[in-house]
Symmetry: C2
Subunit: 341 residues, 2 copies
C-alpha cells in the first residue's frame, strides 16, 4: 500500500511528551498502513521511547531542539523558540512535507504559532477551536472554546460557517443543525453581538436552529453545532467537565463506602464501564483549529496513548475531507453573498 | 410560641402553582411554629388545594386576581398585571406585612417587579441572582445567574460584596473565599471587565482568591463564592445542569439494558440514592435576589413540594440574618473605602 497521507506529530507536547506520543504514533502507523508519521522533537528523547530504539515502517524522526512549556506564554514560544517541536511540526505542514499536525502542547502557544506560520484563510478574521462533546443523541460540536474573546456577530457567523464545514466533513452530515448559545431570560436575552449574530445566521443559508441554552449542548436532539464566543464556550466546557468529574468523584466515594457498596460496585461494573465509555473524554480528544491555511489538531495536554490516537484520527479525517479548502470556499461564498446582498 | 417571622408565598407561580405551593406552606408551617405564611393568589384556586378546604394555623390567604405567565415578558407583567400574585406578594414585603417573599414564577418578571417595587439598596447598581451548587467539598455559591449582562468591573465587585454577606449569613463563614470566573488561556486571559474586576477585588478587603475556571465551581476545595457576569454565570449553570442530566440519562439507559444490569441496579440502589442526594437540585433550590431593599427568593419553576420548602428555608435564613441590612452596610463601607482611596 502506498502512503496517502503524512502527519507531523509534536512529540514533545503535552504533560507526558514522547512517552505518550511515540507509542501512539507506532500503534497508529501499524493500524493505518497508508499513513506516514513524522515525530518532531528532540531526537534522543524520541529514540528513548522507541521499542529497541528502532523506528517502525512509515515512522520517522524530525529533530527539533527546543520544547514549548505547558505554561509558557504564547508570545515567548512564538518569538523565542523557533526550533521548538511545535513550531517545526507546523512548519512541516506549511512546507507541504506533512498534511496536518497534531500537538498536545499548550493551546495558546499552538494557536499563536499556527496562526503566525500558516496564516488565516482569506475572509477569516479569527481562527477558532472546535471539539465534539457527548450528547444524549450522539455528539455536539462546540466552538469557539477559547481562542477568541469579545467575538463580534461577524466572527460568530464565521464560526458557524467553519463548524458546518467541519461537521459536514467529519460526520458526513449535509446540513448540520447550528444553534447559537444564549441565555433564557427574555427581558435581557443576549448581548448585542449575539443578537446581531442571530440575524446574520438566519440569513446565512446554514441550517440555523436559533438560540440554544447551555443544557441543549448535551440534551437537545438533532443539534449538531453550538456557536459561542470563546470566553463563553470555554467556561461552558470547563463547567461541564467540573460537574462530570464531581459526579465521578461522588460515585467513587459512595461505592467505596463499605463492604456492601463495594460488592454493589462489582455488580454495577459493566454498567459503569459503559457509562464511562459513553462520556470518556479520551474518545472526544482532539480539538481542531479552524480557519487556518492548514490542518492543526490540539490533543488534550493530559492525553494518554489511546486519546492521542483519537486526535491523530481527527487530523486524518480533516486531511481526507480537505477541510481547509472547504472552509476557504465556504467563507468566500458567504462573503460573496454578503457583497451581493 | 409567638410568630417571629412572616413569609409571603406567590401561590400561583411555577409550573405547578398552588398544587405545590399550598402543601409546601402547610408542611413548613407545621414544622416551624414561629413562622406565619401568607398564600398570595386566587383565593378559589388556593382553597381548592387545602385539605378539607381549611386553613391550618398561621397560614392565611391574601387574594390576588392575576397570574404572571411562566413565559410572559417582564415588561408585560410589570405594566399589565398590578394585581398578580407575584406583585402582591412583593408588595407585602414592601409594606412590612411580610419579612420576605418566595416565588416560583418566571425569573425575569420576578426580578423586574421586585426591583420596581422594592428598589435597590443605595450603591447597588444591579441586583444579582445567587444560588448554591454542589461541590466535592460541600457547596459553592455562584452569582450572577442571569439578571445582568455586560456587567462592568464595578458590578462584579458588588456581586462579590453581596455574595460574601449572603454566604456569611447563611453559612456562618466569617470570610468566605471568593473567585472570579475566567478562562485559562494566558494570552487572552479575561475580557477587560474581568481583568479590571480582578484588581478591584484584590483591593476590596474580601477574601479574594483570584481567577477560577469553570471546573473550580465543583472541584476546588475551600472555594465558597464564584463571581461572574450573568450571561456567563447562566451559561455555566445551564451547561452544568445539562451534563448532570445527560449522565443520569445514560446511567438509566445502561441500568435498564438487560436483566443482569437491572439486578445490578438493585444492588447499586443505595449508592445511587446517596449520589442523587448529594447532587439533588431540590436540595439546592432557592436562588436569592440580592441587592434589593427586601428579601426575595426565587424557587425553580419546576420545583416539587420538598424543593419549594427548601426555598422557603432559604428565605427564612435571610430574614434571620437581616441580609438586606447587612448588604446595605457592606456596600456603604465599600463606597466609603473607595471615596477615601
Amino acid at each position: 500500500m502506498t502512503v496517502s497521507l503524512t502527519l507531523a506529530l509534536d512529540a514533545m507536547g503535552g504533560d507526558h511528551g514522547p512517552s505518550v506520543v511515540v507509542p501512539a504514533a507506532i500503534r497508529y502507523a501499524q493500524a493505518n498502513p497508508d499513513c506516514a508519521l513524522i515525530l518532531v522533537g528532540q531526537e534522543s528523547a524520541v529514540r528513548a521511547c522507541l521499542p529497541d530504539g528502532r523506528l517502525p515502517p512509515r515512522v520517522s524522526i524530525h529533530h527539533a531542539s527546543e520544547v514549548v512549556g505547558m505554561d509558557e506564554a504564547p508570545a515567548s514560544a512564538l518569538r523565542g523558540k523557533k526550533d521548538s517541536s511545535m513550531r517545526v511540526a507546523i512548519n512541516l505542514v506549511k512546507d507541504g512535507a506533512a498534511d496536518a499536525c497534531v500537538s498536545a502542547g499548550n493551546t495558546g502557544a499552538l494557536m499563536a504559532t499556527a496562526r503566525f506560520v500558516l496564516k488565516t484563510i482569506p475572509g477569516v478574521d479569527r481562527p477558532a477551536i472546535i471539539t465534539a462533546l457527548p450528547a444524549v443523541d450522539g455528539r455536539t460540536w462546540v466552538l469557539d472554546l477559547g481562542a477568541n474573546i469579545d467575538s463580534t456577530a461577524e466572527h460568530l457567523l464565521q464560526f458557524a460557517v467553519m463548524g458546518t464545514e467541519l461537521v459536514n466533513a467529519v460526520e458526513g452530515k449535509a446540513a448540520p443543525a447550528v444553534g447559537l448559545l444564549n441565555i433564557g431570560e427574555e427581558e435581557i436575552k443576549g448581548v448585542d453581538s449575539v443578537k446581531q449574530a442571530h440575524v446574520l445566521l438566519q440569513n446565512s443559508g446554514l441550517n440555523y436552529q436559533g438560540y440554544v441554552e447551555g443544557d441543549d449542548i448535551y440534551l437537545r436532539e438533532g443539534l449538531d453545532i453550538v456557536v459561542a464566543d470563546g470566553f463563553i464556550g470555554n467556561i461552558s466546557l470547563k463547567s461541564s467537565e467540573g460537574v462530570a468529574k464531581m459526579i465521578k468523584h461522588f460515585l467513587t466515594v459512595e461505592f467505596k463506602r463499605n463492604l456492601l457498596t463495594r460488592l454493589a460496585a462489582l455488580a454495577a461494573m459493566p454498567v459503569l464501564k459503559r457509562l464511562t465509555k459513553r462520556i470518556d473524554p479520551r474518545r472526544y480528544n482532539g480539538a481542531s483549529l479552524l480557519g487556518l491555511r492548514g490542518i492543526v489538531v490540539k490533543s488534550h495536554g493530559g492525553a494518554d496513548q489511546f486519546a492521542f490516537e483519537t486526535a491523530i484520527g481527527i487530523a486524518r479525517k480533516e486531511v481526507e475531507a480537505d477541510i481547509a479548502a472547504r472552509i476557504t470556499d465556504s467563507v468566500a461564498a458567504q462573503l460573496q453573498q454578503k457583497a451581493s446582498a
